[in-house]
Amino acid sequence: MSDSSTIWTEKYRPSKFEEVFGQDEIIKRVKNLTNSLNLPHLLFAGPAGTGKSTLAIIVAKELFKEYWRENYLELNASDARGIDVIRQEVKNFARTKSLGSVPFKIIFLDEADALTKEAQQALRRTMENFTSTCRFILSCNFSSKIIDPIQSRCVVFRFKLLEKKDIEKVMKKIAEKEGITLDEKAYETIYEGSEGDCRRAINLIQASASISPIITEEIINILLSSAKPKDVKVVLDYALSGDFVKSKEKLLDIMLKESVSGTDIIKSIQKEIWNLDVDPELKVKLTEKTGEVEFRLVEGSDEFVQLESLLASFVLAGLGKKL
């Protein structure tokens, strides 16, 4: 995007290989591949905010220079409705020849691991059909979720979480350019809160800068705790105290307002059980029940009904009864 952008993640998104902090080894190899002008399909695997999209854009910019926007298509597999939509967009984009001297275009498919196995099979065929005109860069969080036939057609790069020194370098650069000050402890808190996700770190300082140009540990902590999705603890507390109706209402609220899926909810419940104030024996039973409900949730049709049946078990546990 343009340099004048006011979203810092965009404003300070590196546009050259040299500007990227961290991932040194990957940068070196991708740069070589790009310069050879004979780019294979690439698969970028790694956690969010480690530079996968950035690197894809840099590749496009290096290859196509001022024509990069015309020759670069970005799709997000978790947003596009099904593989058919993706195939159609790819077809439309790949039909025309690339502008400039490079004989192919680049399609960046973000979050490719959101596609089902069947959809990935279809994607593999699409990749083959358009190899003459297009190169694919796929990104995913876990390469294990990408089917082997695709992996074998790509050069795989594994991105690591950014280290503290890299995140700090980015922060310092932005602070200097934007005229804001961060104290030493704030750096520390941002790094911890970001969990190595650079995008999150930048969003954190921009959000706090919107409140005050002096960024302290305190404000970062406040932002971190406010930005956290409402957790399921309160839902479980209501259930354990016997207030089933409140508990289910709260659950529905969280699922709808935070747009959390049933499977995500059940995962957080499973993690939360161990912190609950109940007998260890009961925790084992509750975890077993949670597993059973997760299974039924996959088999069944109505996530909410399944979760309600789990909450009813928590009500029982709250009464000290056997499950």
């Binding site: 993640t9 998104r13 959000a207």
Partner: protein, 415 residues
């Protein structure tokens, strides 16, 4: 009777005990209690009339006081907090007894809402019962809530049951005639059935249709039959022991099985508690698993199992010994409406998130998750860059304000 703008149930509220229909046992018990109290031989100083709405609990107290020339003092929850008023009422009758009244009756109407913790709650009520020199009558819908356990032990309990269907039919008929609006048997029986023993509801219905044409009325009633059936079906599931007929309960219900599932989901917690609740939801959960399998495999024979868990499964969740007799008002499913309402509200969030996502090379999902930070980041320049429309801007500003307030509040507490 002159036409006063009164609701029918007020207009025809019985003034004498002999006018009260269908509650003979409750009337006798109340009589016996007051008589025993006045002779100083009653064991308890208060009586609780409990039962579903519209069965005549308050009417009973009023009619009784009226006919026996007692003065009736009504107290509500806020009066219980008012020391001066309480003392005034509790003064011995010799000091302020009215000339004609024989004595006093204290009526505490509808204690359901009184809480056990706050001042002016149950503790004050119990203190009142201990101090009083006059009989206390308490009315309540659901006396079996645990918060009332102490109160129950201090009082005599009298159940005021749902009115018998035939009694309701007869009363509607008589009142309709008095209102010069004779109705067909079908309409009358329809109103009576719908009321399920709640005379106030029946008379309200009657009131609302007195001004209708008979024709519109018939249509109206046909529309209502749909929900009629589901009410009866739910009643059979929840109140009766599972038997061979249980499996066919939904056959006459004019709703899809999917919708019936939502009705069950909504009303299980009203009917079941604790272990029964868990068992009932487990059955519903199993029904849903079979539904999922039908959808995925198109193997329709699974419907047998889905139906089984939705009928017998939920019915058998209750203990065999104590079939629930409490009257429960079933609610139509609210989840779908709630989803729709929240989605309406969140639609703006989604459209903003989708523009933001495209701009920042990320997914909509992630933008939704990061919305809190994003709302702070989005300034006026960015709003233009993202081409947000007016409604989106309004929504965003609202969220932004909320976020800032939340942060300020947290800053204050840490200081």
């Amino acid at each position: 009777m002159p036409d006063k703008p009164l609701p029918l149930f007020e207009k025809y509220r019985p003034k004498k005990i002999s006018d009260i229909r269908g509650q003979d046992i409750a009337v006798d018990k109340l009589k016996a209690f007051i008589t025993a109290f006045s002779r100083g031989i009653s064991k308890k100083k208060a009586m609780i009339l409990h039962g579903p709405a519209g069965t005549g609990k308050t009417t009973l107290a009023h009619a009784f006081a009226n006919e026996m020339s007692y003065e009736l003092f009504e107290l509500n929850a806020s009066d219980l907090r008012n020391r001066a008023k309480l003392d005034e009422i509790l003064k011995p009758s010799t000091l302020q007894q009215s000339l004609f009244a024989k004595g006093k009756i204290i009526l505490v109407d509808e204690v359901d809402g009184v809480t056990s913790t706050e001042y002016g709650g149950l503790a004050e009520l119990i203190a009142l019962i201990e101090k009083t020199k006059f009989p206390v009558i308490i009315t309540c819908n659901d006396i079996w809530q645990s918060k009332f356990s102490l109160l129950r032990s201090k009082c005599e309990l009298v159940q005021v049951k749902e009115l018998n269907y035939l009694v309701v039919v007869q009363l509607i008929k008589e009142i309709a005639l008095l209102e010069k609006r004779p109705l067909s048997e079908r309409v009358i029986s329809e109103i009576a059935a719908k009321s399920r023993g709640d005379l106030r509801a029946a008379l309200n219905d009657l009131h609302s249709i007195i001004y209708f044409d008979e024709e519109i009325l018939e249509e109206e009633i046909q529309l209502r039959e749909k929900t009629q059936d589901i009410f009866n079906a739910l009643k059979e599931i929840f109140k009766l022991r599972a038997n061979q007929d249980t499996l066919e309960v939904y056959e006459n219900v004019n709703l899809e099985l999917d919708q019936i599932m939502l009705w069950l989901e909504e009303n299980i917690p009203a009917e079941y508690r604790g272990e029964e609740l868990a068992k009932a939801y487990d059955a519903l959960s199993k029904a849903d698993v079979f539904r999922g399998r039908i959808i995925r495999q198109q193997y329709w024979h699974f419907l047998v199992y889905q139906n089984f868990f939705m009928t017998a499964g939920i019915s058998a969740a209750k203990g065999i010994k104590n079939l629930p007799q409490r009257f429960i008002k079933y609610n139509p499913p609210r989840r779908i409406l709630k989803i729709w309402m929240i989605n309406q509200k969140e639609a703006k969030k989604k459209s903003i998130a989708s523009k933001y996502a495209e701009f920042t090379h990320t997914s909509k999902k992630r933008a939704m998750k990061e919305f809190f930070l994003a709302s702070l980041i989005m300034n006026d320049v960015l709003i233009k860059e993202l081409e947000l429309d007016e409604q989106e801007i309004e929504y965003l500003n609202e969220r932004k304000l909320q976020a800032i307030e939340q942060i300020k509040a947290m800053q204050n507490t840490t200081k």
